[in-house]
Symmetry: C2
Subunit: 63 residues, 2 copies
DNA sequence: ATTTTATGTAAAGTTTTATTTACACAAATA
DNA sequence: TATTTGTGTAAATAAAACTTTACATAAAAT
């Protein structure tokens, strides 16, 4: 599953570490998700979605 | 995290077993998610969302 | 030129999600 | 009444998400 987190971070001038703190995970977790190493849990996807004020479907792509 | 899967199943006249087959998980996984024992993975949430043709946010509720 | 900041990555370990097998029970049906 | 169907649940296990610690590197700032 791909995602637009890196772009959204750039648009919001936010580092991986800053985003990690805001959604309460480790920086490595954000990095891994951005790099496609694994998918976020549903609750984490919701947190990211709310932070950027965008629907989950417009941030994460299943296909 | 709560969800409306049981209601959506009812509306679509679908058993837990049928839904399980359609989204390719075990019946017990569907039951556990309906009963709130755990949250689905993001890919599974997407599958359910596509099946019922509804946004993830209208099926799953973080708060 | 040196230090700081941001990112990438790796290994070991914990927690959460999902599977498999199995059984109990109620309601519908034969 | 006996059987089938749908649901709830449990224990053992596997797989995936996430943490922690740690190190490497490139770019930006001092």
């Amino acid at each position: 599953m791909k995602n637009k987190i890196k772009v959204l971070r750039a648009e919001h001038n936010m580092t991986q570490a800053e985003l990690a703190i805001k959604v309460q995970v480790s920086r490595q977790t954000i990095n891994a998700i951005e790099k496609g190493k694994f998918d976020p849990s549903l609750p984490l996807a919701f947190k990211i979605s709310r932070l950027f004020k965008l629907p989950i479907e417009s941030i994460f792509f299943d296909r």
